[in-house]
C-alpha cells in the first residue's frame, strides 16, 4: 500500500487546514481554556483553597478506589466472555455477544436505577416475589462496593471488545503446533494464548479505568444518597451551589480527573512497552478449543451472568414502572400503566427530551461524518508528523472524561462570544459543540479503517482521467466507504442519545436531554415515571442495536463492535 502514497497535490490545498482548524476549535480551544483557568487559580492561590478542602480528597480517594475495583470486576467478566466467545465452540455466540455488549449502550443512570429497583427493601420485584429485606435495611448498592460493581457491569463490554479484537488475530498455527506436540488445552491457554492476549487485556483495563473515573450516572444515583462523592459528582454539586468561585474550583477538580485518567493511560503505556508481539502466519482463532463436557458448565454460567446483568435489572425496572406508588408490591391488581400514560402523553419534558436527544444525536453524527470523511482522507493520505499530531489531538477529548470536556466548554462559552455578542451558555448549541468534540474520535475510527482498506489505485485512475477532488469524493470514495460511514453515524448516534455526563452540566430550560430528564425525574421522587422513561430508552437502544445488527452483513469487519 505504501507504494501508492504520493506526496503530490492529490488533495485540495484547503483540506488539511480545514481539518486543523476544526481540531483547534473542538480540542485545543476548550482544553487550553481549562488550563488557563487552572493556572489562574494557581496564581491567585485559589488552588490552595480547593486542595485544602477535605471533601476534594475524599472524592479523589473514592474516585480512584471505585474505578480500581470497577476495573477489576469488568476485567473478570469481560475476559471470561471474550475467551469463551472467541476461542471456544460454545453455542449461541451471536446472541451472547449481542446481549453482553448491551449494558455499554444503556445510559449508566438507567443501569443504576434498575439495579436499585432490583435490590433493597423497596424492590417492587422482590416485594412481588415476597423476598424483600426487612424495614430499615440499607440499600446495599448505596456503597463503594455497589458503585464498583455497577462500574464493572457497565464497562465489562469495553474489556470484552478490546480483548476480543486482540484474540481475533491470534496465530492459529501456533496453537496447532503446540497441540501437535502434545500440549494440553490448559497449557496452550497459559503459555500461548494468555501472554499473547495481555496487550488486549491491558488496553481493556485502561479504557475501563478511564471510563470509570469519568462516570457520572452511577455515582450520582448510588453515591449521593450515601454521601459518597466521586470527583464528577462533586463537580456537579459544586455547580448546584453556585458561587463566584465555582468556575475556578471546577477547573481544578476536572484537572484532577484528567490527571487520574492520564495516569491510567500512562500505566497502560508502560505495561504495553516491550510487549510488541509480532504475529506471523495464519491468524483467526475461531474455535481453537473444543469445550466438550465443559460446555454444560460454561453455557449456563454465561447465561446466568447475563440474567443478573440484564434480565433481572430490566424486569425490576419494568416492575417499578408498573406499580402505582413506590413501596406498593406489584400484583395483577395493583399493576397500572399510569406511569407510561403520564410520561408519554402528559409530560412535555418527555417530548422535549426525545426531540433534543434525537436531534442532537443526529446533528452530531451527520456533522461529524462530514468532517470525518474529509479528516480521514487528509490524515490517511498525508502520513506525516503534522497529521499524527492532529490524530492524537482528536483522540484527547474522547479519552478524557465527558465531565472535563463539559467544564472546559462552559469556561469557553460562559461569557458571550466576543464581537458577536452571542451567548451560547444555556442554549442547545453548547451541548452540540461539546458532543462534536467528545465523539469526534468515535466517528473517525470506522472511517479511517475503511480508508486504510481502500486501494488508492482507483482514485488515482480517476485523477489521471481528470476528475476533480469532489468528483472523486462523491463518485469513488464515498460509495466505497459508505458502509463504514453508516456504522460511524449509527455508533455516534447511539452514544450521543444516551449521554448524560456532558448534558448534566450544560442543560437548561428546553434543552433537557433524555439522560437529564431521567436524572431529574428520579431526583424529584417520581420513581414510577423515571422507570417508565428508562424502559422506553432501553427499548430504543435495543431497536437501534438491532438495526446495526441487520446492517452488519454489509459492513467491513470490526465496524459493528459486538460482531466479529
Amino acid at each position: 500500500m505504501h507504494g501508492y502514497v504520493r506526496t503530490g497535490n492529490s488533495q485540495p490545498a484547503w483540506l488539511f487546514p480545514f481539518v486543523v482548524i476544526t481540531v483547534l476549535i473542538l480540542s485545543v480551544l476548550p482544553l487550553a481554556r481549562l488550563a488557563m483557568v487552572g493556572i489562574a487559580a494557581f496564581a491567585n492561590g485559589g488552588v490552595l483553597t480547593v486542595l485544602g478542602d477535605p471533601s476534594v480528597w475524599s472524592a479523589t480517594y473514592y474516585t480512584i478506589v471505585t474505578a480500581l475495583f470497577g476495573t477489576i470486576i469488568s476485567l473478570v467478566i469481560g475476559c471470561l466472555f471474550a475467551f469463551l466467545l472467541t476461542l471456544t465452540d460454545i453455542t449461541g455466540k451471536g446472541l451472547l455477544s449481542f446481549f453482553f455488549v448491551l449494558p455499554m449502550m444503556i445510559p449508566p443512570q438507567v443501569t443504576a436505577l434498575a439495579w436499585v429497583q432490583m435490590s433493597g427493601p423497596s424492590s417492587p420485584l422482590l416485594k412481588a416475589l415476597s423476598i424483600a429485606p426487612p424495614l430499615g435495611s440499607p440499600q446495599p448498592l448505596y456503597s463503594v462496593g455497589g458503585i464498583a460493581l455497577l462500574y464493572g457491569v457497565q464497562h465489562a463490554p469495553l474489556v470484552y471488545l478490546a480483548l476480543r479484537a486482540g484474540l481475533m488475530t491470534l496465530p492459529r498455527d501456533g496453537v496447532e503446533a503446540a497441540r501437535l506436540s502434545g500440549a494440553s488445552s490448559l497449557r496452550v491457554f497459559r503459555d500461548i494464548i494468555l501472554p499473547l492476549s495481555l496487550p488486549g487485556i491491558i488496553a481493556g483495563a485502561a479504557i475501563s479505568f478511564v471510563s470509570c473515573t469519568g462516570n457520572f450516572g452511577i455515582p450520582a444515583i448510588l453515591g449521593i444518597p450515601a454521601s459518597i462523592f466521586t470527583l464528577p459528582t462533586l463537580i456537579f454539586t459544586k455547580f448546584s451551589a453556585f458561587t463566584s468561585r465555582t468556575f475556578g474550583d471546577v477547573a481544578v477538580l476536572s484537572g484532577i480527573i484528567a490527571m487520574i485518567s492520564v495516569a491510567g493511560l500512562m500505566i497502560q503505556d508502560r505495561a504495553l512497552r516491550g510487549r510488541d508481539y509480532r504475529i506471523i502466519g495464519l491468524s483467526g482463532a475461531s474455535a481453537a478449543f473444543e469445550l466438550g463436557a465443559w460446555r454444560f458448565a460454561f453455557t449456563p454460567l454465561l447465561w446466568a451472568i447475563l440474567f443478573f446483568m440484564l434480565a433481572a435489572p430490566f424486569s425490576a425496572l419494568v416492575a417499578g414502572a408498573l406499580v402505582p406508588a413506590y413501596g406498593v408490591p406489584l400484583t395483577f391488581k395493583t399493576m397500572s400503566l399510569h406511569a407510561f400514560e403520564e410520561i408519554l402523553f402528559r409530560q412535555a419534558v418527555t417530548r422535549t427530551a426525545f426531540v433534543n436527544s434525537l436531534s442532537l444525536a443526529a446533528a452530531t453524527a451527520i456533522c461529524l461524518l462530514t468532517v470525518t470523511v474529509l479528516a480521514a482522507y487528509a490524515l490517511t493520505r498525508r502520513r506525516d508528523a503534522a497529521s499524527r499530531i492532529v490524530s492524537s489531538l482528536i483522540e484527547i477529548p474522547y479519552s478524557l472524561p465527558g465531565i472535563v470536556m463539559a467544564v472546559s466548554f462552559i469556561l469557553v462559552f460562559a461569557a458571550p462570544i466576543p464581537f458577536l455578542h452571542i451567548s451560547l451558555y444555556g442554549t442547545i448549541w453548547i451541548i452540540l459543540i461539546a458532543y462534536l468534540s467528545s465523539f469526534f474520535a468515535v466517528s473517525l475510527k470506522p472511517v479511517v479503517s475503511a480508508f486504510h482498506q481502500l486501494d488508492p489505485a482507483l482514485e488515482e485512475a480517476a485523477r489521471l482521467s481528470g476528475a476533480g477532488f469532489f468528483r472523486r469524493l462523491f463518485d469513488i470514495i464515498v460509495p466505497l466507504i459508505a458502509p463504514a460511514a453508516g456504522a460511524s453515524v449509527i455508533l455516534v448516534f447511539l452514544i450521543a442519545c444516551n449521554e448524560l455526563t456532558i448534558s448534566a452540566l450544560l442543560w437548561s430550560a428546553g434543552t433537557q436531554t433524555l439522560g437529564v430528564a431521567i436524572y431529574n425525574l428520579d431526583d424529584s421522587g417520581s420513581s414510577d415515571l423515571t422507570s417508565a422513561l428508562s424502559v422506553l430508552v432501553v427499548l430504543m437502544v435495543v431497536v437501534m442495536m438491532l438495526l446495526l445488527e441487520f446492517l452488519a452483513k454489509r459492513l467491513p469487519k470490526g465496524v459493528v463492535p459486538w460482531r466479529s
Binding site: 471533601s55 433493597g120 427493601p121 423497596s122 424495614l135 430499615g136 435495611s137 440499607p138 449521593i224 444518597p225 450515601a226 454521601s227 455547580f239 448546584s240 451551589a241 453556585f242 463566584s244 406508588a325 413506590y326 413501596g327 406498593v328 395493583t334 403520564e342 402528559r346 409530560q347 412535555a348 426531540v355 436531534s359 442532537l360 446533528a363 451527520i366 456533522c367 462530514t370 462559552f413 461569557a415 458571550p416 451567548s423 451558555y425 444555556g426 442554549t427 442547545i428 448549541w429 481528470g466 476528475a467 476533480g468 469532489f470 468528483r471 462523491f474 437548561s508 430550560a509 428546553g510 433537557q512 431529574n520 425525574l521 431526583d523 424529584s524 421522587g525 417520581s526 420513581s527 415515571l529
Partner: protein, 330 residues
C-alpha cells in the same frame, strides 16, 4: 460532466446548515423555573396554557437551592433564561428582591389573599401552604406524634430528612424548628446522634420511607398524603409541637423579555381556577375561602410555627454551615 467544486461546497454548506437547523429552535414564550415535582409542574403549566392558548410555557424543575444556582450561573454568563419563578419559600425571593432581580407587579388577585402572604410592593405572591411534618412507613414499630419522638431509641438509624442544601422547604424547616424553645439546634444534634441522615430533597425522603430503607422522615405534607391515597404504605402526622410552612411564592424576573405573559402567569396561579388546580394536586391553596385537599385535617388543627423572615435571611449562611457540620455537606 465535471462538477464545479464551488457549487458542491455551497451545497455541502447548505446541507450542514440544514442539519443544524434540524435542531429545534425553542420558541417558548415563557420559561418557568419551579421546584414543584414534575407531574405537578406539568399540571400547573397545562392549566395555564389551557386558559392562555396563545402562550407557550417551557419549564425546568429542580430543588430550590439548585434552581437558584442555575439561575445565578446564567445571570453570571449574561443569559438568564427564566421569566417566572415558582419556588419554595419567600426568603429566597426576598433575597432576589433586595438584589434588584425581580419585577414588581400588582396583581388584581391580591385582594383575595392575606396581606402576610405577599409582598406589599408586588414582587412576589404566595401560592399555597406547604407544611413539613413527619411521615412513617406503616410497618414501623413506633407511631411518632412529636418531633422529639424521632430522637427516641426506637428510631435509631431509621430517620431521614431532606437537606437544606437541596431543598428550600428543608432550609425553612430547619430555621423554624431551631427557633422553637425546647428544640433548637440541640434537637438536630440529638437527631444526628440518633443516626438520622440528611440527603437530597423531599422526593428522596419519600422514596426512602415508602421503600422501607428508612422508617421515619421529615417531609412536606402533600407527598405522603398523595402517595398514601395511591396505596403506598405510608402515613403523615402533624407533630404536636407544630409544623413549619413554606408558601411557594411566584415572582417575575426583572430580566424577562415576556413581562406581559409572565404577569398573566402570576394572575393565573393566584386566580380561583389556578388555586383549584393546586387543590386538586393535593396542596393547601393560599387563597382565602378555599377548601382543603382530601386527607388533611381541618386547617385550625394544624399548628403552623412562626418564622422571622428577616432573621432567616440574615442567618441562612450560618445555618447552612451549622447543618453541614452535623450532617455533612450534601
Amino acid at each position: 460532466m465535471r462538477i464545479p467544486p464551488m457549487k458542491t461546497i455551497v451545497s455541502a454548506a447548505a446541507l450542514l446548515a440544514a442539519s443544524f437547523l434540524a435542531v429545534p429552535a425553542l420558541a417558548a414564550n415563557l420559561v418557568l423555573y419551579t421546584s414543584q415535582p414534575n407531574e405537578d409542574a406539568q399540571a400547573t403549566v397545562d392549566g395555564f396554557m389551557a386558559a392562555n392558548p396563545d402562550i407557550n410555557v417551557d419549564w425546568v424543575r429542580d430543588g430550590t437551592p439548585k434552581i437558584m444556582a442555575k439561575l445565578q450561573a446564567e445571570i453570571q454568563a449574561g443569559n438568564p433564561v427564566a421569566d417566572v419563578l415558582l419556588i419554595a419559600d419567600m426568603v429566597t425571593l426576598e433575597r432576589l428582591k433586595e438584589d434588584g432581580k425581580l419585577l414588581a407587579y400588582k396583581s388584581p388577585e391580591a385582594g383575595q389573599y392575606d396581606a402576610t402572604l405577599y409582598d406589599a410592593d408586588g414582587y412576589y405572591y404566595s401560592t399555597k401552604l406547604i407544611t413539613t411534618g413527619i411521615m412513617y412507613n406503616t410497618s414501623a414499630g413506633m407511631k411518632p406524634a412529636s418531633w422529639k419522638d424521632l430522637t427516641k431509641p426506637e428510631a435509631k438509624g431509621l430517620v431521614t430528612m431532606p437537606s437544606p442544601l437541596a431543598s428550600g422547604a428543608a432550609l425553612i424547616h430547619a430555621q423554624t424548628l431551631t427557633a422553637v424553645p425546647g428544640l433548637g439546634w440541640d434537637f438536630y444534634k440529638s437527631l444526628a446522634e440518633n443516626g438520622a441522615i440528611a440527603a437530597g430533597g423531599n422526593g428522596a425522603v419519600l422514596k426512602s420511607v415508602a421503600s422501607g430503607e428508612k422508617a421515619y422522615g421529615m417531609v412536606v405534607d402533600y407527598l405522603p398524603i398523595r402517595e398514601k391515597a395511591k396505596g403506598a404504605p405510608v402515613e403523615f402526622v402533624f407533630p404536636s409541637e407544630g409544623v413549619s410552612a413554606v408558601t411557594e411564592p411566584v415572582g417575575i424576573l426583572a430580566s424577562t423579555k415576556n413581562a406581559d405573559a409572565a404577569k398573566k402567569f402570576v394572575d393565573y396561579v393566584l386566580s380561583e381556577k389556578g388555586q383549584e388546580g393546586f387543590l386538586k394536586l393535593g396542596y393547601i391553596p393560599a387563597r382565602n375561602g378555599m377548601k382543603l385537599p382530601e386527607g388533611f385535617p381541618s386547617r385550625d388543627t394544624i399548628k403552623v410555627l412562626p418564622i422571622k423572615a428577616a432573621d432567616a435571611l440574615k442567618n441562612t449562611d450560618q445555618d447552612l454551615k451549622t447543618f453541614s457540620g452535623l450532617y455533612g455537606s450534601n
